[in-house]
């Protein structure tokens, strides 16, 4: 064939770095951009209305701290939703992981009171929390990917089962002896003077999650499976194994979130996480990740986590009734999904 010398592909202009994200990529993340602007606008509005209350270090710190646990859940949820899956169990798994971690630390402490426990005991508690979360993730993944039961049903089941198991273990009474060493460092400690440690951990998880999703083969396969699972299978990607790993990952992150929550609240907060799953899903979807799979980003999820958080803070500061917050979030959420639909329909015209 003689076409080789002709320019048959519109090649990048001379000197253009081929790895540089091109204009389309910016266009593609237009949804993320739009939702980012919403977040910015919210901050500006609240900041302008009550600068002395909103634009303070304290507000920023509490806003970030309160978002940290949800952010860790939402990073895992981003992976799951990009594979066109869903995980309704994260809040219950968080509670379960917190409970088994706390119970382990109590069991390892004299008299069953973990308040004065040392770092060895705390490390054991962390490991058990991660194992507890990971185990639920593994069960979810195997039932979804191997037994091919719809993710919605499987994780609805573990949503109930993990919480039930946590209540069985504790008789429904929150564990109240959390090591002070843990609570004072991870829970309420700060680094560099102002940055809460809890936030640092959440940022580390987020940055790592973003790197894995954007730059690695694992991330690429996550997108491919969500985009067309059968094509991924025919391309030699181990789809079943990958899906199990993704649900395992979200379980592990829920376990970590459970441990973080334990450190922050100094108790297991068994009844406080019934809507964590929906909050995490809302954050991911707000951030431009498509429920149909194949599309999304951790950066978008970060923005999606902070929109409800900023709304809550702003409403409190402006003395707007807190009941308005879920209404406002729902409106933005439905608008975001609608945008996604319209964009998909426009794209898949052929």
């Amino acid at each position: 064939m003689t076409t080789a010398k002709q320019s048959v592909v519109d090649t990048p202009e001379e000197g253009d770095d081929p790895s540089r994200p091109a204009a389309w990529q910016r266009l593609r993340s237009a949804n993320t951009l739009w939702i980012g602007l919403v977040l910015l606008a919210l901050c500006v509005v609240f900041g302008a209305l009550r600068p002395e209350a909103f634009l303070t270090l304290f507000t920023a710190q509490t806003l970030l701290i309160e978002a940290s646990v949800l952010l860790v859940l939402a990073v895992g949820m981003t992976f799951v939703i990009i594979t066109a899956g869903i995980d309704l169990s994260v809040g219950s798994v968080l509670v379960f992981a917190g409970v088994v971690g706390a119970k382990t630390m109590e069991a390892l402490s004299p008299g069953g009171d973990a308040t004065d426990a040392g770092w060895g005991v705390i490390a054991a508690g962390l490991v058990v929390s991660l194992l507890g979360g990971g185990a639920w993730g593994l069960v979810n993944g195997l039932l979804i990917a191997r037994a091919r039961i719809p993710a919605l049903i499987v994780t609805l089941g573990s949503f109930g089962a993990a919480l039930g198991a946590a209540q069985l273990i504790t008789d429904g009474v929150d564990v109240r002896t959390v090591p002070s060493a843990l609570a004072n460092t991870l829970g309420s400690g700060t680094s560099l003077g102002v940055v809460p440690n809890l936030v640092l951990l959440a940022v580390a998880v987020t940055v790592l999650g973003d790197l894995v999703l954007r730059t690695t083969r694992f991330g690429r396969h996550t997108y491919a499976i969500g985009s067309n699972a059968e094509a991924a299978r025919r391309a030699g990607i181990a789809v079943t194994r990958h899906l199990v790993l993704v649900y395992l990952l979200v379980g592990l992150l829920a376990g970590l979130a459970g441990f973080m929550s334990l450190a922050y609240f100094r108790t297991t907060t068994i009844s406080g996480h019934s809507t964590d799953n929906l909050n995490a899903i809302a954050a991911v979807v707000l951030g431009g990740t498509s429920l149909f799979g194949g599309l999304g980003s951790v950066l978008g999820t970060v923005i999606g986590v902070f929109i409800p958080a900023v709304l809550t803070k702003g409403f409190v500061i402006l003395h707007v009734q807190a009941f308005w917050q879920p209404i406002a979030v729902s409106v933005v959420l439905v608008a975001a999904v609608w945008f996604d639909q319209v964009r998909r329909r426009a794209r898949n015209r052929s």
Binding site: M1, T3, A4, S7, V8, V9, D10, T11, D17, P18, S19, A22, W24, Q25, R28, V212, T215, T216, R217, F218, R220, Y223, A224, G226, S227, N228, E230, A231, A232, R233, R234, A235, G236, I237, G293, G294, L295, R347, N348, S350
Partner: protein, 256 residues
């Protein structure tokens, strides 16, 4: 040419989908350096046969022989490992990924060194190579950066064809690779098919366009109701004969 032993052969394959018998003892042969066309009416079992021979489906009974030895493909990866590539009728591309990502799907290049061992992709290198391969194969794309779902049907098909040709070393199956193509692109794909054949690869072309089949194929095998009913040398065959075999008006005793 029919003197050389087949590179890939199916012997009396059967395949059920529920109660539907897609293949009822179908045989098929492909030789290195030869374009063999697989034709038949809608529902004759062509795609089912290709899926069995490329590891996507496992036949219920029958034998697959590759390079003289019986083989069992338990997954597409098995077939790909032997240099067998496929353009599926439904294309099997990931619409949200760009053409380069689709070209390297399942075979992603990783960065050298530690980063690569951590699984970090070499996106720049994949993009560079993809651009070069598309240029070499005459695939015209508005941009190598758009998700493939935003391309036209023909452009998507061209990418799928390019992907199979780039990776194949022994056999390429093309299940209606020109169905959505315009005149120019169709000609390009036929040129690519000939060139791949000349490299010594066995090309299996499925098409409903009989003049196209006779123009590019060396041999033609006809499938009807899940069985091979006729074999022809393309050079001395007419469209009427092919249509006769496809509809059952003409049968060959020794074909099955």
């Amino acid at each position: 040419m029919s003197g050389t032993p087949p590179l890939l052969a199916a012997r009396a394959l059967t395949k059920h989908y529920g109660t539907v018998e897609a293949l009822r003892g179908a045989s098929f042969e492909a030789r290195a350096g030869e374009v063999v066309a697989l034709v038949g009416d809608n529902g004759a079992g062509k795609s089912a046969l290709v899926k069995c021979l490329s590891g996507v489906e496992t036949p219920d009974a029958g034998e697959i022989v590759f390079d003289g030895a019986p083989v069992r493909f338990t997954s597409p990866t098995d077939a790909r490992a032997m240099g067998i590539e496929t353009v599926y009728q439904d294309l099997a591309v990931a619409p949200d990924l760009d053409p380069a990502a689709n070209l390297f799907l399942g075979r992603e290049l990783r960065k050298p060194g530690l980063l690569g061992r951590l699984g970090v992709l070499d996106k720049a290198e994949m993009r560079r190579r993809a651009t070069r391969e598309f240029a070499r194969l005459g695939v015209r794309l508005p941009s190598v950066d758009v998700p493939i779902g935003a391309l036209s049907g023909g452009q998507r098909q061209s990418v799928a064809v390019a992907r199979s040709v780039v990776w194949a070393s022994r056999v390429v199956f093309m299940d209606e690779p020109t169905a959505a193509l315009g005149v120019v692109q169709r000609q390009r794909v036929l040129d690519v098919i000939r060139r791949v054949r000349d490299e010594g690869i066995a090309v299996v072309l499925i098409s409903h366009n009989m003049p196209e089949v006779l123009a590019v194929a060396d041999r033609v095998e006809v499938l009807r109701l899940g069985q091979r009913v006729a074999r022809f040398q393309a050079a001395d065959t007419t469209v009427e004969q092919l249509v006769g075999a496809m509809t059952g008006a003409l049968t060959q005793e020794d074909a099955a």
